[in-house]
Symmetry: C2
Subunit: 249 residues, 2 copies
DNA sequence: TAAATTTGTCTATTGATATAGACAATTATA
DNA sequence: TATAATTGTCTATATCAATAGACAAATTTA
């Protein structure tokens, strides 16, 4: 065998501090089950040796995760994993927020943060099959499950066809229910483009993240069963709390 | 309209240095067409004001992107955008490396970096429907397009059924061609789970990334048309060079 | 109870990060 | 050919990040 396996290695002088990198590693270790929930983490000295850094650096990483609510440190006893598992958000032909998280969460809902009417940008117009500058309604929403933010989305709709969808959304708290009021009883995911980046200040505030966090970004178009585009959306998911499970589209 | 749009804001004391955050912002701005290709970036003083940092901090960000091959700085003239567009890697029922990037690239191939026979870990065994500890062949590969690394993957195969696939892979440079030698003339993507994280040291080396970069991670299972699992894989894509386009699975 | 284990706090030192200002070098423009 | 605009280099300073060591405080274990 040639080659080497990805070691528990870190990068110095990277623009990302060591404590942040180690916090990421601990999160990852929890996510893949390396560190069990409600169990103690290895002691700080062991972690320091494992990652090849000073104990104080490990302490900075742990402090950040305690701040995030992932760990709890108890003097004399140890540091314990609190974190719930990463949610698995299904993306498929019929991608729906609420139904997708059933079974993994006891409660979930969408909050309408803001809405506005605006001229369609180039990409929105293309996605919806409208002329550039045509009036569209934008809904800014946040998805929450068991009290934690799990998504932050902007959705655009043809303003002529869906006038009043903002009010419907505020009332029902559901895209699916709101569309039903306009005679849309079914819709399909036509396309999804996926990328990732660092969370910006808006993401940090909206998703209750710590600086340095990563967000998954999806840009999607939903259509009626006969192919008419009805919704263009861009969603952000906190990578530390959500993974995307791609099923049959 | 309530709410605010994502501003050009940055986070201090975040564990991610300002120059890295600004480099990310510039990359993003290029990706969404804010800064056109082959056109000059705004001058350093303008960027510094725009992002609310010192000119030298902007210079650090630009230096990193010059190092990455995204920008070219010319004294007295300006700093220019070189970057090729982000590749759009399709993921669907028949996900194939080479065909997926046709049209976007002139050349692409897979390099076999290493191979080994090993006992199946828990997740590999589950994915392939084998007993834990059963012998599997692991292929470590890198996908390259137009001379740039675009993916880094580990694939696992049942060692009994696919003995010699490592040699076939080394010879053909294609998973599809290698599987064909074992009578597999078609295979389908059964499941894909997607996440994102910071690149670790191995990713940086393998994908020629700068520290602080983000990688998209997919964990997938391929099956024969009648549902037999044949390949379990974990792939990493550099988020700054690749986006994933989900098509009909 | 005593010893061992583990987290918490403090001081000190070094290097990386970020700001600030001045000026040189190169190129485009009036 | 000046002048302006822009990137490149240098010095200096303050703060953050990381290492190092010592010891306190709390808890568990022998």
């Amino acid at each position: 065998m040639v080659g080497r396996l990805a070691a528990d290695s870190i990068e110095r002088r990277s623009g990302v501090s060591l404590w942040r990198q180690i916090a990421d590693k601990i999160l990852h270790a929890i996510a893949i089950g390396d560190f069990a929930e409600n169990a103690p983490l290895p002691p700080e000295v062991a972690l320091a040796e494992r990652y090849g850094v000073n104990r104080h650096t490990v302490r900075s990483a742990i402090a950040a995760l305690v701040q995030e609510g992932v760990l709890r440190a108890e003097q004399g006893r140890g540091t314990f994993v609190l974190s719930r598992k990463r949610l698995s958000y299904p993306i498929g032909a019929r991608t729906r927020f609420s139904t997708g998280l059933q079974g993994q969460t006891t409660e979930r809902h969408i909050v309408l943060l803001a809405s506005s009417v605006e001229p369609a940008s180039q990409r929105v117009a293309e996605g919806l099959g409208l002329a550039r500058g045509a009036e569209v309604i934008r809904l800014e929403t946040r998805g929450e499950a068991d009290g934690r933010p799990v998504s932050r989305a902007a959705g655009w709709f043809d303003a002529r066809r869906f006038a009043g969808i903002d009010a419907a959304m505020a009332e029902t708290g559901s895209i699916t229910a709101s569309l039903a009021r306009f005679g849309i009883d079914d819709y399909l995911r036509q396309s999804t483009v996926l990328s990732a980046r660092h969370a910006d200040a808006a993401d940090l505030a909206d998703l209750d993240l710590q600086p340095g966090a990563i967000v998954l970004v999806t840009v999607a178009v939903n259509v009626t069963p006969d192919g008419q585009p009805i919704q263009f959306s861009e969603s952000r998911f906190p990578a530390e709390r959500v993974e995307l499970k791609l099923s049959a589209l």
